[in-house]
Amino acid sequence: MTNPVISVDRLSKYYQLGEVASAGGRFSKFLSLWRPETKLTEHNRDLWALKDVSFELEQGQVLGIIGRNGAGKSTLLKILSRITEPTTGTATIRGRVGSLLEVGTGFHPELTGRENVFLNGAILGMSQAEIARKFDEIIDFSEIGDFIDTPVKRYSSGMFTRLAFAVAANLDPEILIIDEVLSVGDAAFRKKSMEKIRDLMKSGRTVLFVSHNIGSISELCTSAILLDKGEILDAGEVGDVVGSYAKLISEDLIHGDGRGWHKNNISINRVWTTHSDGRDEQIFDLKDEIVVNMEYELHEDIDTMQSVMVVSRNMIEVFTSFDTDGHVEPIANRKAGRYHAQMRIPARFLKGGSYSISVLIGTLTDILIEVPSALQFAIEELTENTAFRSYKKERVGHIIFPGSWTTAQMDQDTDAGQLELAKGGT
């Protein structure tokens, strides 16, 4: 019992990405496969997709794996699911592994749903008897009904996904490897799937979970590892690792250089974002207030001055704000000197994503200086799973919609329906 369920010891995977075009290249690659003991000649186009990765996982632990694209997450899962072999290192797995690397991969379009259930079960290493025992449960969960004897190529993509997930989740693997499966299916089924996964986790299954949705990682996982360029950058408590991830992606964002921008006797020295408590930050959570700071210097007095910030998300302007907005007289006469302006973006106003801010200083009639994309910042779904929220990052749209819906059925009970509508009208 004290044995870890998964122990990974200095696992590495080397990919030769050299040109495939020349037959000679392929041949020498072939030879190096034949004699893997021979020393690998490293080319600059080759890649350690995974380098010296070690960790252990106890029974019942739920481990999230996070990292940017190409960090080695998929390679790690592929090795642990035994799809490809590591170049060096070992891993030991105790228990039956069910891997959901992509839902429905074992499905064959020409076979019926029933045949595919048995095929997929066999792929997960179950005997026919075991699958037969679970069969009704699977059909119930998938909501496929009578279509079970129809070839799956006639299924809608939703039905396909539902059946595939139902098979994988109901066949009771002891260790579950999940890669981004929750991004499929319609909302109701996704919710059901989440609940199923949560149940599996509660019932002592060991789970390895990869997702780009940091919110669902925070919600579901007890611990996490952060991969970058094939190496483990951080490992431990899920909150800490998510924090390291936030720091890592903030390094990707462009920093304004120290010298600033100058035009028409105005210098914009620095534009930066801070938390409400004043510390510098470029990655914010949905529930953080964002303070945009601008330090500028006027080398002469300017009458009717206005400073402006335009906030864009994915090249689309979300709003434009003037420092004089709401003033009785929308102008300010400013003396020469240094100024520090702050614009506060309230918490839970912008949804997750990357933002850029353009700043302008001008008068009522002229633009004196304009700095497009002076600053980037990002809002991440760090603490919240936004799967069923208007502001899920992947949805179309740019704001956190504060409204709500009511829907009344009109045809079943006419009186009640009218009553409901009447109420809505007042």
Binding site: Y15, E85, P86, A91, T92, V97, E115, L119, I123
Partner: protein, 280 residues
């Protein structure tokens, strides 16, 4: 309980050198193998009205065309048996060999969607491809029985030996397929080249002509082709009568070649199978 845990413990490490296929694991996956066979068979005749009947059209057409031009017009000898029946025997063998080898030889590349996403012992891919060609063989044999009945020919008392010969042919095709399929994963040239080789091999084997047409002094070399004694042996076992039996030594050499092909095929496969997924 502890034994159960041992069974489920999997060690993942880079294998080096030759590794023998894990027979216990393969037997654990036997239900998957049968499903793969089923999937293969079912998808082969997907959405076709005549389904498996297509299996017999090709040999039936080949038989008719050859019987007309080679048998009737060119007067090919056929060792005292109607020419049509005579060549249907050999076409059955050849079709089985060809289909089985090509199927196994392209199995990894054809199953790449599965191999890239899911683990199973990779040898299951060529195994299931090979096994699925046995169904077509059964249909072909049914056809042969019908055609023999039509011509009023009774099988010879040695017909049971034909079963052994077919198993040898299947095993030979599988052995070649093992090596071909991993090479095919690296170079798709293999499948194109294979078509050419098979064509030449077809004419180097006694499929559409009797062995008696081969000049005596070349017969020694001729029987070194491992397929030659098997096909001629099949005709002899099924038809009996005046059909000549291949010399015993040629069966011996054929079996030797098949065993060598199996060892080489398995070695190549086991050596290259591990990382084939990275190159598919």
């Amino acid at each position: 309980m502890s034994q159960q845990e041992d069974l489920n413990e999997v060690r993942i490490y880079p294998r080096t050198g030759f590794s023998f296929p894990d027979l216990r694991e393969i037997s654990q996956y036997k239900s998957l193998m049968f499903l793969l066979v089923w999937r293969e068979i079912k998808s082969r005749y997907k959405q076709s009205y005549l389904g498996a009947l297509w299996v017999i059209f090709q040999p039936l057409t080949m038989m008719s065309v050859y019987a007309l031009f080679l048998g009737y017009v060119a007067r090919f000898p056929s060792e005292g048996v109607p020419y049509a029946v005579y060549i249907l025997c050999s076409i059955t063998c050849w079709q089985f060999f060809n289909q089985s080898m090509t199927g196994a030889g392209t199995s990894l590349a054809n199953q790449q969607a599965l191999i890239g996403k899911i683990y199973f012992p990779r040898i299951l891919a060529p195994m299931s491809a090979s096994l699925s060609s046995f169904l077509d063989l059964a249909i072909l044999i049914g056809l042969l029985v019908v055609v023999m009945a039509f011509f009023g020919i009774f099988p010879s008392p040695n017909a049971f030996m034909a079963v052994g010969i077919l198993i040898l042919i299947g095993f030979f095709a599988f052995s070649l397929g093992l090596a071909l399929t991993v090479l095919d994963a690296f170079w798709r040239d293999v499948r194109h080249g294979l078509g050419l080789v098979i064509q030449i091999w077809y004419f180097a084997s006694p499929v559409i002509y009797p062995v008696t047409l081969v000049p005596e002094r070349f017969l020694h070399f001729y029987y070194m082709n491992p397929m030659a004694p098997l096909i001629q042996g099949f005709r002899w076992a099924v038809l009996g009568g005046d059909v000549s039996m291949p010399p015993l030594w040629s069966f011996g050499s054929s079996i030797c070649v098949i065993l060598i092909a199996f060892v080489i095929g398995l070695t190549v496969f086991q050596r290259l199978e591990r990382n084939v997924v990275d190159y598919l």
